[in-house]
Symmetry: C2
Subunit: 337 residues, 2 copies
């Protein structure tokens, strides 16, 4: 029998078997895994369940011409793990729903699954089930991720109070620069800068450990992830807490390689980085009386840069403040605009 | 401000608000609902978690020309609740991931959500979160449903033993006849028959109560749902238990209106009904020593017809047996064939 070269030849069950063969052994708390009508798992003890779902759609969130299948899988899982991290949750399991063009090469499906499973396994997440269907249009990778968190450790968006500091993890803008660079097919900057930006887009690192530590140490008064960009995040987090954010534009940690690329492309680095999505960093606030707890978290996460970018004040909206000038932060990316 | 007529005008947040406004009040065990990075819920006590995901893709699972938006929403939720029912689980919550064409009328989104929420609410299921994105191609409705089941009450596919009886709920074939009839745009049969078939396709009833009762009473040795048709189900359930099924073709409860329609269309009713999908009935086996428990379940579910269609024997495969003749049950529907 020849090896099936595309999904029409492989069949639905062949595709399910292909995925199952690429998974590590199931942990003992999975009672029923892939292959039944539904998956059954023991809950984590003394915790709440945390649920998120996020989909990547070809032509909206990625372009197969310059996004390798393994990166599509990685990014789909990263988006979901980042959502759990923003709640302070420990990720446990995921379900994968795929809508696949019949012409998709089987090797692409293998790479997609490998990219997704590698990131999941790194974070102790097991794929317990899913669904595969044909797509008459785009490739769609839809993941639901489930985690656990103790009630007092859950991070939510409301909770920022005047006097709190505003913090962001990592740097911003590299993923947006990487996407623009890959789409243009021409880096135009030094190879090391190009690699950083492309890597940030293709293989984002969800801040799972940082989110868990902020939650367990009750160090943040509010938290969200930056999937739709810093500008969008600042506006949303301020609105959720019914407060205003005053942000120091000079404190925003724009990725240096991204700044190089934005300038090369004739764009102003700061607004470009703030508008760009896909950073998957955590944006959070820290109250004065939690500062020592937060410093303890910082010591445990020395590999993740953390930048204080502003403060919470009474009012509404997110503002860039430079001296006397106070300008509103522009809005983020909306899928239907 | 004028009312937005399509999704491009409504925007992503407008669409999320539209959905949120159409939900009933959240039950107290939902700690964080729609609007944060992820949803947080208290687990059910002393139970295992049950997870399933199922997607409906335009052009594969439905055709918007003859499937009203409310039916698309209903069917997407029904497919997931049916999977939970097949595990004996009590459904609790769901996440909704939508990929929507920008040209979709807002009124269609409203109807889709209403259809989905009505069925969910009827079964005590709360929508706790989701994701909305633009689709450059088909409308995709992807649902993840979560339920709970006590460990000893979970129904799984393996477990049928020689000597068990094979049972199926409801009737089969009406949904397939309804789909064919709607696609042809011409019932060609009496209105009451046409209505039954169209209704079976557009508004299938997931067997949530039956599945839960079979599980709680430990009345079934194996169970699955029939989303891909009886022929497929028999083959899969026999294979999962490593046994053979001998089925009496005269005992198969073909829907009488479907039989009328299949004959009208020049097709043999029995194989047509067995090959057709979307029935969402439960197929299960009952051991001799559990018969009294099963009879107790039957008394509690008098509104759901149950038919004994065959028995489990040693061997492999699913077979139609009439006198001395033993013919294999033909396979079911695979999405990539």
């Amino acid at each position: 029998m020849s090896t099936p070269s595309n999904l029409a030849a492989l069949g639905e069950r062949g595709a399910i078997d292909l995925i199952r063969r690429r998974l590590p052994a199931a942990p003992p708390w999975i009672v029923v895994g892939i292959g039944d009508d539904a998956a059954v798992a023991e809950p984590a003890r003394n915790t709440l369940d945390v649920f998120t779902t996020d989909a990547l759609v070809e032509g909206v969130h990625f372009d197969r011409r310059f996004t390798p299948p393994s990166a599509i899988g990685h990014r789909a899982m990263a988006a979901n793990l980042s959502d759990l991290a923003a709640m302070g949750a420990t990720p446990r399991l995921a379900l994968l729903s795929l809508a696949l063009p019949e012409t998709l090469p089987v090797s692409d499906l293998e790479s997609l699954v490998d990219g997704l499973v590698a990131l999941a396994t790194h974070h102790g997440v097991h794929l317990v089930g899913g669904n595969i269907t044909r797509s008459p249009g785009p490739l769609v990778v839809d993941i639901t991720a489930v985690g656990s968190v103790r009630r007092r450790h859950a991070l939510t968006r409301p909770g920022a109070r005047p006097g709190d500091d505003v913090w962001v993890s990592g740097t911003i803008g590299a993923a947006a620069a990487g996407l623009a660079m890959l789409a243009a097919g021409d880096a135009g900057v030094a190879a090391e800068d190009a690699d950083v930006c492309a890597g940030a887009y293709l293989a984002p690192v969800p801040r799972v450990r940082l989110g868990g530590l902020l939650g367990r140490n009750r160090a943040a008064s509010s938290c969200m992830d930056l999937s739709d960009g810093l500008a969008d995040g600042l506006s949303q987090l301020a609105a959720a807490s019914d407060v205003a954010f005053e942000i120091d534009p000079d404190a925003i940690p724009v990725s240096p390689p991204a700044a190089v690329w934005f300038r090369h492309a004739g764009a102003d680095p700061l607004p470009s980085a703030m508008a760009g999505g896909d950073d998957y960093e955590l944006l959070f606030t820290v109250s004065r009386r939690r500062r020592s707890r937060f410093e303890a978290v910082r010591k445990l996460t020395r590999d993740v840069p953390l930048a204080k970018i502003g403060r919470v004040v009474a009012g509404s909206g997110a503002w860039l403040v430079r001296g006397e000038a106070r300008t509103p932060v522009a809005g983020g990316y909306e899928h239907f605009r």
